[in-house]
């Protein structure tokens, strides 16, 4: 349901504005709105001093947010009293922590870059081992580090031939394949021939690797040895950075969390101050609060500020045209299904919250479609796993609880259909109670359409109730549409002899009589709307279609067990097919049931456009504010 909201106006002495806002923030109940200026009341404008203070707070908030991001962990906040952390002190702590952590981050990045650079030369290390054992004297020799791509043997031959024709025997080319398939090559030429070799490499389109600056000096073997040594040292340097980060986290982490929370809170009270209007001595602001909490707010403000603060409720007539923020509040059992409602825009204030209906019909339709004890148990196991791995009040937790409800309905309908992994249930003695879905296609279709009729009629009735508060003629039209849909369904049943045939004529006459009333109430488009509504009911045939497809796939999977020669191979195929069917059996009904709700059901009454309820409250790192 959507909570009833009250529009309140709070008045008090101007010097208490900041304290009142802080107290209201503690309660976390008031959603502030902009107040229209009048001749006597002017918008509160911050003084240059307050503006400067605001800029300082924003800067410190930026420092602390950056520091916390670089810290990468959120320790429990310190218990140090708020007043012991003045803004200058907080700025000092946050600024120092940010600079230190940014320095560490820069250093870590440099070391990572250095490591990846050295790793490029790693394939040459073993090649150099070859050189050092070959007895080649590298004095006065220029070394080129080359990488030959996979399958570049022809290039190597061409390069070797070109070098031989230009330099004769005055070069050495060592090659060593690396794990990636590329070859690390080292070309050693006399310093005198270096320019010629460079030109030949360029002609052969072989790009030599350039040594990092810190390794560019000294002999080649010495360079490689220094690289090897550095590669060994780098993990130690990186570990030192991590130790330093942990030290900052343990020394300053708790203070930073405290500063972050208190400054975010402070910032939101300052920005909320700008929504107030003032006289030289008083302030006034307006906001929304759940009606049930209004008395509590007044009592607590009275307790904190004595008789200085006045809270008055603004009559509904004064805010009739405005949209109150929307708070959805449902019983614990229905609450996870708010996630489905919230995938659409919020319902407007004063309209119907569809969550309770979604909570009943969504898992029920899902269960009727999947309807298998085995798949239901599997879904329950997956949902429980997600539930244990998720935190309360998060989307994964809501999804797991919806999954559990769907699994429960699937198991119940699985027993009613006598299905356990398809027809395996029948073989194990599980008998269908209502019907066997493999054979009873028409009864299943009838059940699906009957459910569609009930769902659509409920939607139309909700639409009628909702419109009754405003446009009564349209409300009558909606109710009439619901009655017409029922009458048409009954007439069709009489025509197909599902009801006694004698009912057919009276039902048709009643429909013809009501038809003009429907047109008067809903307009000339009413007949088209009625046909579309009947189409909506037929759309529920998908429950039967998707359900039948699912059970047939399961039956096919079971038949695989004996269809592939050795039983073991057949069982593996059957299990694989069941797994695919389970994934499809969960995904497909979910999409189709969402569609039935959003398009067919919500279309009859849902009125989107609600404003999100965002009260002034304390900041928390997890959701921004709590």
């Amino acid at each position: 349901m959507i909570l009833e909201m009250s529009r309140i106006r709070v008045l008090g002495p101007r010097e208490e504005l900041q304290s009142v806002l802080e107290r209201i923030q503690d309660l976390g109940l008031v959603h502030f709105v902009d107040f229209a200026e009048t001749e006597a009341l002017t918008q509160l404008v911050l003084t240059p001093q307050q503006e400067r203070h605001l800029r300082n707070v924003r800067r410190v908030v930026e420092d602390v947010n950056t520091a916390m991001r670089l810290l990468g962990e959120t320790p429990a906040p310190s218990r140090r009293a708020a007043e012991s952390l003045t803004l200058p002190r907080a700025a000092l702590i946050a600024g120092r922590a940010r600079r230190a952590l940014e320095g560490l981050e820069d250093r870590r990045r440099q070391l990572e870059e250095e490591r990846s650079l050295i790793l490029k030369f790693q394939p040459f290390f073993s090649t150099f081992d070859k050189i050092s054992t070959s007895g080649l004297d590298l004095d006065g020799i220029r070394i080129f580090y080359l990488v030959l791509r996979v399958g570049g043997e022809q290039e190597l031959l061409r390069l070797r031939a070109a070098l031989r024709s230009a330099l004769g025997e005055g070069f050495e080319l060592f090659s060593q394949p690396s794990a990636s398939g590329e070859s690390a090559m080292i070309l050693a030429v006399s310093s005198v021939d270096a320019k010629t070799a460079e030109a030949l490499l360029s002609e052969a389109a072989v790009q030599p690797l350039v040594l990092p600056d810190q390794f560019s000096e000294g002999g080649a073997i010495d360079t490689i040895r220094r690289m090897q040594a550095r590669l060994k040292d780098l993990p130690r340097d990186l570990a030192e950075i991590e130790v330093e980060r942990k030290r900052i986290a343990s020394v300053r982490g708790r203070d930073l969390v405290r500063i972050q929370a208190s400054l975010h809170d402070h910032l939101s009270t300052i920005t909320t101050m700008e929504k107030a209007v003032v006289t030289p001595r008083a302030f006034v602001f307006e906001g929304w609060i759940p009606s049930a909490a209004r008395a509590d707010l007044e009592r607590r403000l009275q307790k904190s500020f004595g008789g200085m603060i006045e809270v008055e409720t603004i009559s509904r007539e004064e805010w009739e045209g405005e949209m109150a923020p929307v708070v959805l509040k449902n019983p614990r059992l229905f609450r996870p299904f708010e996630a489905i409602t919230r995938m659409m825009p919020l319902p407007s204030y004063g309209s119907v919250d569809p969550t309770p209906f979604v909570a009943v019909f969504f898992p029920m339709f899902f269960g009727i479609t999947l309807g298998d004890v085995g798949y239901g148990a599997l879904l329950a196991a997956v949902s429980l796993l997600i539930r244990f791995r998720s935190s309360p009040n998060t989307k994964p937790r809501a999804v797991s609880e919806i999954g559990l409800a769907c699994a429960l309905f699937s198991i119940v309908f699985g027993f009613l259909y006598g299905e356990l992994f398809g027809d395996l249930g029948h073989r194990l003695g599980l008998q269908p109670i209502i019907f066997n879905r493999e054979e009873a296609v028409i009864p299943f279709l009838g059940l699906a359409l009957a459910l569609g009729l009930v769902h659509i009629v409920i939607g139309l009735s909700l639409g009628a109730v909702q419109r009754f508060r405003g446009d009564k003629r349209h409300a009558v039209g909606r109710a009439m549409a619901a009655v017409m849909v029922i009458l048409i369904a009954l007439a069709l049943m009489a025509a197909f002899e599902l009801l006694p045939e004698r009912f057919f004529t009276p039902l048709v006459i009643t429909i013809l009589v009501l038809f003009p009333i429907l047109i008067v109430a809903e307009g000339v488009l009413a007949p088209i709307e009625l046909v579309s509504t009947i189409g909506n009911v037929l759309s529920y045939a998908r429950i039967m279609a998707v359900g039948t497809a699912s059970v047939m796939m399961a039956v096919a999977a079971n038949r695989m067990a004996g269809a592939f020669g050795p039983v073991f191979v057949g069982i593996v195929f059957a299990l694989l097919f069941h797994l695919i069917n389970f994934v499809l059996g969960v995904f497909s009904p979910t999409i189709h049931m969402l569609r039935l709700h959003y398009v067919e059901f919500f279309g009859k009454f849902f009125s989107p456009g609600g404003v999100e309820y965002e009260p002034l409250r304390h900041w928390s790192p997890r959701e921004g504010a709590v």
Partner: protein
């Protein structure tokens, strides 16, 4: 009705709507992907738009089953 015609009718009743659904979804899919790249918040709308043409195939399936059952009965 002759058995062959019955099966052909049932196949056409589900086959033609399925092709139509496939064609419609092939047009919606790329537009949906492009929309989601720019506005991920429209995921629900996009999923619904993709699911809407499936009604045609589902009703085709229902009609096909009815043809087979009527013919068989």
């Amino acid at each position: 009705m002759d058995g062959n015609w019955l099966y052909l009718s049932a196949a056409l009743a589900v086959g033609i709507p399925a092709l139509a659904t496939g064609w419609a979804q092939s047009r919606i899919g790329p537009a949906a992907a492009a929309t989601l790249a720019e506005k991920p918040e429209l995921t629900v709308t996009v999923v619904l738009l993709i699911a809407i043409p499936e009604t045609v195939a589902i009703l085709g399936f229902v009609v096909s089953v009815l043809i087979l059952l009527q013919g068989g009965g």
